[in-house]
């Protein structure tokens, strides 16, 4: 995965970059399956490797080409990005160890989902239960985000009808 990202950063040909992006999403989905997040993996495979890549290709077809120029000064952005990374790495030092069953996320809130959701909602897939019921309002928001994007793209890309018609 890291290799594809490196290649993407260096690649000037936009088409290869897009294909690499699809590949990258696929790797990401594989890792997600390994982490037991099957729902997320399925979505990432469909959205990241599927929809995003198709959209990027479609847009690429319309705008075309390769990147024009080499970078002027790659150092400043690199320093900035690394500085942010250092802050994140610093914060991550204090996080609970991997697979620590006593970590707060496993002892607070989540247990109720795992233990009660069958009784309370009758749905064995806990992800679905949380998504659609416990945190159903987030999902409403998510649907509205999709709606906003769809309506926004219509507003931006619809061809203006000729007045004569």
């Amino acid at each position: 995965m890291a290799v594809t990202v490196f290649a993407m950063a260096l690649q000037r040909n936009l088409f290869s970059a897009v294909v690499l992006f699809g590949l990258y999403s696929f790797f990401m989905a594989t890792v997600l399956v390994a982490l037991d997040a099957v729902d997320v993996a399925m979505t990432e495979a469909a959205v990241g490797a599927g929809v995003s890549t198709v959209l990027l290709l479609g847009a690429l077809y319309l705008v075309g080409g390769t990147e024009a120029k080499p970078l002027h000064r790659p150092l400043i952005p690199l320093t900035l990005a690394i500085a942010v990374g250092v802050v994140l790495a610093y914060g991550m030092q204090g996080l609970p160890a991997f697979s620590d069953a006593q970590a707060p996320i496993h002892t607070h809130v989540a247990p109720r989902y795992l233990q009660e959701s069958m009784k309370e909602t009758g749905v064995p897939n806990v992800v679905t239960a949380v998504l659609a019921s416990y945190r159903g309002y987030d999902t409403l928001g998510e649907t509205v985000v999709v709606f906003t994007a769809g309506a926004g793209v219509i507003a931006l890309l619809r061809r203006r009808r000729k007045d004569a018609k």
């Binding site: 802050v87 994140l88 610093y90 914060g91 991550m92 030092q93 204090g94 996080l95 609970p96 970590a103 707060p104 996320i105 496993h106 002892t107 607070h108 809130v109 989540a110 109720r112 989902y113 019921s133 416990y134 945190r135 159903g136 309002y137 987030d138 409403l140 928001g141 998510e142 509205v144 985000v145 709606f147 906003t148 994007a149 309506a151 926004g152 219509i154 507003a155 931006l156 619809r158 203006r160 009808r161």
Partner: protein, 493 residues
């Protein structure tokens, strides 16, 4: 229905948007938007009254108790911001009709209204929710809607402005999610109240500090905290007038609200921040923003950009109050949210009217020549709002700045008082530049036709101007509400 006010506040505009897309008619879209905006104002006032009499309201969506479900929570601070957003919306919506008809292609006007409703719903949703991740979802709703609103501007630069805003806004939102993620990993909860309680027991502070940094930078990008403001001037300048008026009055204010929430409700500065000089950072950035942005505004030739830079400077005043961190300074900050919202709203609505008559999207300062004769009421409104921007006694702007000065004096920061006064003087200079052009310089021979702005627009604008003056004299609502909110923030320590 009375018990459901909290959720109706957000769901009404949220449901109006798809309805508008379904019906696909410009007239219906306008009516729906107006009705929804007024309903939102009524609900917001209703909520504010309830909170004032009966204390904070908690509403469990889906009847799941927090922290398992998502909770809507209205307290003095969120009620105050809700009223600000809904008030602006209800003043901008009726005026939108003429402005949108003139500036946006007819076959997408209905989409513009839908986006406006979504943006409103998003901003209200951010303010009212008691769940950290829900904030992100609604932040994205309002942001995506805003990008589209800006991109619908007639000038092609609007597209680039929207694109830039989209990049910076999305980075901001992603940083926010990273920050919330770190907090979640340390506490296991997303509910803000629960988060605050459980954060007190966290021992390893490194993730908390990193979360603080990410949330500050992330939200700082959204609220155009100096020097993260680069997206703002172009976005304000090239968006359609109605979008500018609404966004300028509300969007950055809601981001300030999120920042206040996290700094004072979720985090406990004395416990979590340790030796981090967050106050000094805020004060330094605020003062730099106030002075630099004011100076840029002074030499800016485009009117909308001028006032956009002035917004960056005014945000500096608001964050200054956060940095000073006292009862008086927070009161000043929160009052300034309202006062500056109303003032900027008035200015951009008036400029929208002028742009409509001038038939141009971007106007140079010089093109306002002779405005005093041609559009006397609009010019008069601009002057009053400009005075409020400077902070002349008797206007709203004075009141909030007064509290900031008092706060600075309390802590013995004489140089801060000097900085506030200096920034106000620069503001006086750029407002005077406009007045001079508008009243003292004769109109160019080939200037646009005579005539005031349409009645609807003018009424909305003058109502806002009247509010600028009203909040300068009667401060029961503005300062009173802000004081209560400030107490709430500091009391939770």
């Amino acid at each position: 229905m009375g018990d459901h006010l909290a959720v109706l506040q957000v769901v009404l505009p949220l449901a109006a948007a798809p309805l508008i897309v379904l019906v696909r008619d410009r007239g219906f879209a306008w009516i729906a938007t107006t009705v929804v905006s007024y309903a939102c104002l009524a609900i917001a006032v209703g909520l504010a009254v309830r909170v004032a009499t009966a204390g904070p309201i908690s509403y469990e969506i889906g009847s799941w108790p927090p922290p398992w479900g998502i909770e809507y929570r209205v307290d003095a601070l969120s009620a105050f911001v809700l009223v600000l957003v809904a008030l602006t919306a209800s003043l901008v919506a009726p005026y939108a009709r003429r402005s949108i008809a003139a500036e946006v292609a007819h076959d997408r006007a209905y989409l513009m209204y839908a986006m406006y409703c979504l943006c409103l719903a998003g901003l209200l949703g951010i303010t009212i929710t008691g769940d950290a991740f829900n904030i992100f979802v609604f932040l994205e709703i309002s942001s995506l809607a805003m990008y589209v609103l800006i991109a619908l501007g007639r000038n092609r630069k609007a597209l680039v402005a929207a694109y830039q805003y989209m990049l910076m806004g999305t980075v901001g939102a992603t940083f926010y999610v990273i920050g919330v993620g770190l907090l979640y990993l340390m506490t296991g909860t997303l509910n803000l109240v629960d988060l605050a309680a459980r954060l007190r027991e966290v021992e390893d502070l490194r993730p908390v500090l990193a979360a603080l940094a990410f949330i500050t930078v992330g939200i700082g990008l959204k609220l155009a905290l100096f020097p993260l403001h680069q997206w703002l001037p172009n976005a304000y300048a090239y968006a359609p007038s109605m979008a500018t008026a609404f966004i300028a009055a509300t969007a950055t204010k809601v981001s300030v609200y999120v920042l206040l929430r996290f700094y004072f409700t979720v985090f406990d500065p004395s416990l979590h921040f340790g030796d981090v000089p967050w106050r000094e950072v805020f004060i330094a950035l605020s003062v730099a923003g106030m002075l630099v942005a004011s100076l840029v505004a002074l030499f800016e030739s485009d009117v909308k950009r001028l006032f956009a830079y002035s917004s960056v400077a005014q945000i500096g005043y608001i964050t200054l109050g956060i940095g000073l961190d006292s009862q008086a300074s927070l009161t000043g900050s929160i009052t300034h949210l309202m006062n500056h919202g109303v003032t900027k709203g008035a200015i951009f609505v008036l400029l929208g009217g002028v742009a409509l008559r001038a038939g141009a999207m971007s106007m140079s300062v010089n093109s306002l020549a002779g405005l005093g004769q041609r559009m006397p009421l609009s010019a008069f409104g601009l002057v009053i709002a400009g005075l409020s921007l400077i902070g002349i006694p008797g206007t709203a702007g004075f009141v909030s700045k007064w509290y900031l000065i008092v706060a600075a004096l309390e802590q013995g920061h004489w140089w801060l008082v000097a900085a506030i006064l200096a920034a106000s003087l620069i503001a006086a200079a750029y407002v005077w530049r406009l007045i001079e052009v508008a009243y003292l310089r004769p109109a160019a021979a080939d200037a646009w036709q005579r005539g005031e702005a349409p009645v609807g627009m003018l009424t909305a604008a003058l109502a806002m101007v009247a509010l600028c003056v009203y909040f300068g004299f009667d401060t029961t609502f503005s300062v009173g509400g802000a004081q209560e909110a400030a107490q709430l923030l500091r009391g939770t320590r």
